[in-house]
């Protein structure tokens, strides 16, 4: 239960190093890039662009329940401005679709 195989630990440490590198490297590199107004505008757009670049392919490659659930999340966010209700609605719509839909 509490045994740790050295090989497994080594592989976990390799993964940890890779994720730490990812988390630090973008932040570090931006230190070398001067924060001009243009760079600031690009960085301002980056969060939204990252989210879209994850959500859009997820919606395209997913089933209809996924698309319906994400649409529900959008509508509920517009109506309630609550991320909690948006996620709840998405899960309810998609689970219902998969249970009863075709």
């Amino acid at each position: 239960m509490t045994s740790v195989d050295p090989q497994t630990l080594l592989a976990i440490l390799v993964m940890a190093a890779a994720t730490m590198f990812n988390r630090a490297s973008g932040f570090f590199l931006m230190r070398l890039v001067p924060l001009t107004p243009r760079v600031h505008k690009i960085l301002d757009c980056l969060p939204g662009a990252v989210l879209v670049a994850i959500v859009a392919p997820t919606a395209v490659h997913g089933d209809l329940a996924m698309a319906a659930g994400l649409l529900a999340a959008f509508v509920v966010t517009r109506l309630t401005r609550s991320d909690f209700f948006a996620v709840l609605a998405a899960v309810a719509v998609a689970a219902g679709w998969r249970a009863f839909g075709s």
Binding site: M1, T2, S3, V4, Q7, A11, I12, L13, V14, M15, A16, A18, T19, F21, N22, R23, A24, S25, G26, F27, L29, M30, R31, L35, P37, V39, H40, K41, I42, C45, L46, P47, G48, A49, V50, L51, V52, A53, I54, V55, A56, P57, V60, M66, G69, L70, A73, V76, T77, R81, D83, F84, A86, V87, A90, V91, A92, V93, R98, A99
Partner: protein
């Protein structure tokens, strides 16, 4: 609009307060049931690959990147050659390439903290708490405690639920049946909507959507996120040139 980049002299504007930590932690609570189901799914899958309770917990505590951990399990072996370890490092790196861009976006904010505080905080960066922190920042927040508090809660729930999943093992229901796979993308949609400000977002998001979907068909792995996001951010950054 974000004000222009603050100079070094005004670096004291970004602080880490207890109130910020608490607000960040509280903001993540609605997402935690969904995250716990993911964590339990990873713990159960890891148990089937022979992970002990401590090994599964260590993986979640140190790697703290659910998608990469899940993907790596697919090819997990009992014996690791140097070549296999290199492939594992590359796999982890590419699956989480988006974290490179996410941390770059944190520079104008966390860059005002002392370096060791900024880098320690970044170890807690995951998709959900990053997205929530970016929304907080867009709404005018500057307390770095928000980011740290949201990250700590996420980390804690991730590790504890992994351990629970490893113990419960194969008795867990299919997450897809209960649409748990919707939790993260739906949360991202909820984070996106308040970011809409007009033409710049239309250009940025449109380009990001088209390029990421196209790249998901053309490029193997998870590069589509990085390619689509960079295209969208650069397009948005230049969108206001023509008036």
């Amino acid at each position: 609009m974000t004000p222009p980049s603050p100079s070094r002299a005004s670096s004291s504007r970004v602080a880490i307060t207890r109130a910020g930590l608490a607000e960040g932690a509280r903001t993540m609570i609605p997402l935690m049931p969904g995250l716990a189901v993911f964590g339990m799914a990873f713990g159960a899958a890891a148990a089937q690959k022979g992970f002990s309770l401590l090994e599964a917990s260590l993986s979640s505590a140190l790697v703290f990147a659910g998608l990469a951990q899940m993907v790596a399990l697919e090819g997990w072996s009992a014996y690791w050659t140097p070549g296999a370890l290199l492939a594992l490092a590359l796999l982890t790196f590419t699956v989480n390439m988006r974290h490179f861009l996410m941390s770059a976006a944190m520079r104008p904010w966390l860059g005002q903290l002392p370096g060791w505080q900024a880098y320690l905080s970044l170890l807690l960066m995951a998709d959900n708490n990053w997205a929530a922190s970016m929304r907080y920042r867009t709404n005018g927040g500057s307390d770095a405690g928000f980011f740290i508090g949201s990250g700590l809660v996420t980390w804690l729930v991730w590790v504890v639920s992994t351990a629970a999943g490893q113990v419960i093992g194969g008795g867990l229901p299919d997450p897809k049946r209960f649409a748990i796979d919707l939790v993260v993308p739906a949360f991202f949609v909820a984070m996106l909507v308040p970011n809409w400000k007009g033409r710049r977002q239309a250009v940025s998001w449109g380009v990001a959507a088209v390029v990421s979907v196209a790249a998901s068909y053309l490029v193997p792995g998870w590069w589509f996120i990085v390619i689509g996001a960079m295209a969208g951010a650069i397009a948005g950054g230049y969108a206001d040139d023509k008036r």
